[in-house]
């Protein structure tokens, strides 16, 4: 279904929309408070942008450097061209280690590759351990936000879900109790796990190490308890040097939730004694996105989710209305690069207000890219005949002032004289909930000419 259709379904429950909007605005507000207390925040964003842009322009070189250093550290590095290969590599590592139970911390990449169903089909248990991800996993839904996966669910829904799946007591949605029960439930899973899968926030070429950020501590609980740790990363997660983490860790937590830094910023480099560490480096369309000059800046993204929290459309349509792994503004510039037709309504799910670009910690020109995707979509995917034709007609009328005045005159007359029932009949989507202007007798043009005439006569 298209974004407008899913968004209009979401909007049938206005109270829920209000609640969703407020919850995310609250996060945006916390972000504002936090970044406004950082001296030279805008310079920090410039650094974030500059380091990432430099990295993208040397990506192959840094990846090779990273791999060589990771190998020296005793880490095995794998390369996957696409989702299938990624899933196959992870599956093979698990098979080699006879791993049947897997705990996973948040990784949008494994979501993108649909890793869980692939492994589950072979009887492997995969448990998402981030609380929000566990909630949506139990509900058999995809995450609706990349940082707050269950932001679309209220506490009573979580309460019911936990009663059904974890056998908890009814608690009127007490978050404290529910979180505590989830901790107990997932503790058991961490203890039993044969392997842990994590994402990667930053991979450092210079050291071959990588950093994983969480607030819950779930990535570390998984990775340090299980005998095997598999870290999956997109090619664009590379940064050149260790010192660059200072920029990105200052940007990430503040942009995401307003925290000065995430609770845990774990720097993995060498496996612990007797343990194994694997890194899977994934392309899956990223090299293609790198080839598009207008869109390659989207690869600077550090997945903070700030553009979602600020987006007035995202807040009022919900993450699921985007029907894509990464929802919201950043998703709307990433997804068309993967499947233009499927995601053709996403770049139009925006007023081009520009708030996304201004909150972005790495200054991706998100709204400018939405505009550019629109130009491509109208050329390369089938468009409604009426839309196409009316645009052609408008384009032509605006070059012919006389025609423009005539069309204007008819429109004004209609607005003045037709009954409301005709004006607001079904084809006029505007009129469903909004009045149209009254339709003045004179256009500005007519008024001005008349005034000039009177002036000259007098």
């Amino acid at each position: 279904m298209s974004h407008p259709k899913l968004a209009s379904i979401f909007n049938k429950d206005e109270k829920k929309v209000d609640w969703h909007d407020k919850a995310l605005w609250f996060v945006r507000h916390k972000r504002d408070k936090s970044v406004h207390s950082v001296k030279n925040w805008e310079e920090l964003r410039n650094l974030g942008q500059g380091i990432k842009a430099h990295m993208l322009s040397n990506l192959d070189i840094y990846l090779e450097e990273f791999e060589a250093n990771a190998n020296k550290n005793g880490v095995e590095v794998h390369w996957a061209a696409n989702a299938e290969e990624h899933n196959q590599i992870v599956h093979n590592i698990l098979k080699e280690n006879n791993a049947k139970k897997v705990v996973k911390s948040k990784s949008m990449l494994t979501e993108e590759c649909h890793l869980n169903p692939h492994l589950e089909a072979d009887g492997i248990e995969v448990i998402d351990t981030d609380l929000g991800e566990r909630i949506v996993q139990l509900a058999k839904e995809p995450p609706s936000h990349i940082v707050l996966p269950a932001i679309h669910k209220n506490k009573h829904e979580v309460d019911e879900l936990f009663q059904e799946h974890l056998g908890t007591e009814p608690c009127d949605g007490n978050p404290q109790y529910l979180t505590h029960e989830a901790r107990k439930h997932l503790r058991q899973k961490f203890i039993e796990a044969d392997a842990a899968i994590t994402g990667v926030n930053f991979a450092i070429a210079e050291t071959g190490g990588f950093v994983v950020c969480t607030n819950e501590g779930n990535a570390d609980m998984g990775a340090h308890l299980a005998p095997v740790h598999i870290a999956c990363m997109g090619v664009e997660k590379i940064i050149p040097k260790l010192e660059h983490l200072s920029v990105f860790l200052r940007l990430l937590g503040r942009s995401a939730t307003g925290q000065p830094i995430t609770t845990y910023s774990s720097h993995f480099k060498k496996p612990a004694n007797g343990k194994k560490m694997h890194i899977v480096i994934v392309d899956n369309g990223r090299s293609e996105q790198l080839s598009r000059p207008d869109f390659r800046a989207s690869l600077r993204c550090i997945r903070c989710g700030a553009c979602m929290n600020t987006c007035p459309i995202y807040r009022r349509s919900g993450g699921h209305s985007y029907d894509a792994t990464v929802p919201g503004p950043i998703g709307s510039i990433l997804s068309p690069g993967k499947d233009l037709k499927k995601h053709s309504t996403l770049p139009f799910a925006s007023t081009l207000c520009g708030s996304c670009s201004d909150v972005c910690p790495v200054k991706i020109d998100i709204h400018a890219q939405l505009y550019k995707w629109r130009q491509i979509i109208t050329k390369e995917t089938p468009q409604p005949f009426v839309k196409k034709k009316s645009m052609q007609i408008m384009g032509s009328v605006f070059t012919k002032p006389k025609q423009f005045e005539t069309v204007g005159k008819i429109a004004r007359w209609s607005l003045r004289n037709l009954p409301q029932s005709v004006i607001n009949s079904k084809p006029n989507v505007w009129g469903k909930e909004r009045d149209l202007p009254k339709g003045p007798k004179q256009s500005f043009d007519q008024w001005y000419n008349e005034r000039q005439k009177n002036k000259n006569n007098s």
Partner: protein, 196 residues
């Protein structure tokens, strides 16, 4: 190896012309922070507590008073072995640490701007310790507090570590209706002691 060559070739062919790497001038971010004050404020903001202590013994004394009824305790501080109820050398599998109540660790690096304390392999006999413990206690000299992450990484550049973590507060989540709950998967509480 998978599709290594193919991926690298594509990235090489598709990347834009080389752009310069910006230099970080950390002085532009400097607000002249009062380091101890800022650090204390930030640890409290992220849900932890900061106390002063005069010695390792004092730390143990204070923490035993704060958390009196614990069963499984471990400290890496010098001269505090009486506090320990377990011997790490007998731990074969980190999973055996599941009942750990209090862990006391030393650190030589903390950051004022975000209340983060660095813990690494050198002070960490088993990596899961600071995550699996119910209560985490971090001990640090006041002179080891640096203002910003930039200074922290200048120091870390000279301290290569196999595993290290910045810890800022106890574990937490707000995944249920944006209500902040302290104590997700990691430590339920974080206490920092500052030594002169």
């Amino acid at each position: 190896m998978g599709s290594r060559a193919e991926i690298l070739a594509k990235l090489k062919a598709n990347k834009p012309e080389a752009l310069p790497l910006p230099q970080i001038d950390s002085s532009i971010f400097d607000e002249g922070l009062n380091l101890i004050e800022e650090f204390t404020k930030k640890v409290e903001v992220v849900g932890g507590n900061v106390y002063q202590a005069t010695s390792a013994d004092d730390v143990v004394k204070q923490i035993t008073k704060m958390l009196p009824d614990t069963k499984v305790n471990f400290s890496t501080l010098e001269g505090t072995s009486a506090f320990n109820t377990i011997d790490l050398s007998t731990i074969n599998d980190p999973r055996e640490l599941e009942d750990l109540d209090i862990l006391i660790l030393e650190s030589d690096l903390a950051v004022a701007e975000n209340g983060a304390v660095w813990v690494n392999d050198q002070s960490l006999p088993i990596r899961v310790l600071p995550f699996i413990t119910k209560h985490l206690v971090l001990v640090l000299s006041k002179e080891h507090i640096l203002p910003y992450m930039h200074q922290a990484y200048e120091k870390l550049n000279h301290q290569p570590t196999d595993f290290g973590v910045f810890i800022s507060g106890p574990s937490k989540t707000a995944d249920i209706e944006q209500s902040l709950v302290i104590g997700a998967h990691g430590a339920l509480s974080l206490t920092v002691f500052l030594l002169d």
